[in-house]
Amino acid sequence: MRDEQILDVTDLTLRFGADKSGQGGLLAVNNVSFGLNRQETLSIVGESGSGKTTIGRCIARLYEPNAGQITFRSEGGEVDLTHMSKAELRPIRQQIQMLFQDPNASLNSRMRIGDLVAEPLNIHRIGTPAERRDRVVSLLERVGLGADTVNRYPHQLSGGQRQRVGIARALTVSPRLLICDEPVSALDVSVQAQVLNLLRDLQDEMGLSYIFVSHDLGVVDYISDRVMVLYLGTIMELATRDDLFAAPAHPYTRALLDAMPSRRDGRHRKRKVLTGEIAGPTLKRQGCVFAGRCPHATDLCQREAPVLRPWARNPATSVACHHADALDLSTEETTI
């Protein structure tokens, strides 16, 4: 079952403010391709402005991509999400749900929790009113909230409880794919762990697939099967979690790992820090998007953009770097 691919994204490109021919504007997602299996968690990591949220929103068709294909496979067969009308998308939307970072912003503050969780059932006209009520209560209980939560309003709940409501609401229509956009970033550490464990348990119980957008590599290491590292809308590296954290192939991945704060064991760790900040996405591009900050960049990197291809040392990892085969990043730290 787990080998069954449910999502296949090919050459996804999105330009905000593009002209009619699909050119110009701001290149937010640049030729991104990946697949996702049933019951798999693929994390998308990168700094702000890297396009990680935008990819998730393209898959949910909250944004219209300019090019590329998003193939979604369900019991009903195979569909291309990029070329469907709003009406055709409606039944598919039951199967692809989103979970947002800020449950305050995504829950209507004037609706009771019971109505909020029942809303997707009403929209998709699923079940009788009595069945809907039962489903709402059983889901609230499953995510760890009491049946009495039904009559409360969002402001009466804590941040962690509100995120649980967001999860219950996304699950009412029995989706196959959940797009989680920084779902635990706004939560305190102790509550964050509760929600992460809940997401893991629900995945096993319901066979859910997750696209997990996060900037926190510790969380990503905990929850993912595979990880995509994104920089300025472009995939730098796509690898299994174990490979990525043990032996990163791309200098940017290495830099992200080095930047993680960690204890220094009683000595002053002379820490190496990546200089500069992520550039604006409107800059004219030539060469590798990361070349400006890369300690290993050469003339070739300034001139020519590397393509994403299997890494010679571990073909299971895909990497977009001219020098990936020659560099040994396993132990070194990025220089100041």
């Binding site: 102790s190 964050q192 762990a193 464990n197 290491d221 930047a259 704060p261 960690s262 900040e277």
Partner: protein, 331 residues
Amino acid sequence: MTLLSVQGLHTHYHVEQGTLRAVDDVSFEIAEGETVGVVGESGCGKSVTARSIMGLLPRRIGEIAAGEIRFAARGGTLDLAQQDPLGPVMRDIRGNDIGMIFQEPMTSLNPVYTIGAQIVEAIRLHSDLSKADAWAKAEQLLERVGINEPARRAKQYPHAFSGGMRQRAMIAMALSSDPRLLIADEPTTAVDVTVEAQILALLEELKRERNMALMLITHDLNVVGEIADRVIVMYLGRVVETTTAARVFDDPKHPYTRGLLASLPSLGRRTRLTPIEGTVPGPHQRPAGCPFAPRCAQATEKCNTQPPTFRIDAETSVACWLYDDAEAGHA
């Protein structure tokens, strides 16, 4: 030498629903040139503690109800808790002796003045430098905090700066008077991880070159492990544990500190996280005894009474009945 000594601090917020004990009998010390991390989840009172020191409590709502905040200012040691927060003494302390930076620099920077003008304002409030000299100093400070082309950048408005550069500009402003203590309230929470690493490295450098003490308020234990010497762990307005940055990871004492570590996803950790049960109670549902008892797996009947602070040794003290065979003392 002790720079700051907070003893038995109680800060109350008077709100519609009654009086809120935001900081409840907090004691700690910061030595000259030392980095102390204050950690805890939202609502634990870490920011209110900082605001109490700075005299920045909201007017008519926040009040220091009891306690001492002794600070070794350049002009002699003062009890900041006794000063009028709006008076000349506190104004002088805030500009000259203690600097503060906040989580979101955009809310502390004025969008309609250039970065340079705002730093010049800070400089001239506390010195008699001429405008031209103050401007030159502002450019030097911007250069020192790692902003390229400081002369050009000083003439720009905050919106032209990225998040990381704004935080650097705030640090430049806080440094303008050469403070002996810098209070940083979640300085890296709103920035990307690569920028966070840059800001932490900068703070560490500045602090070493100026022998400045740093009080770093954060919810992220990993940040504390990265740069702090000592750690204060707070829960519901109380200090539950004071220890060294190394020990907080190797030998945490208080069940809450242990719970935080067990909840913390970090690189290489693959075992299931064990979260602390429940949530931080609302400020009006403060438990009668130990504030952590309702969520604590090791709680006993004894915990219905607030535990005193037990001193384990010179470096570690903990407010938990599990350690009552150790000698009771003050942190």
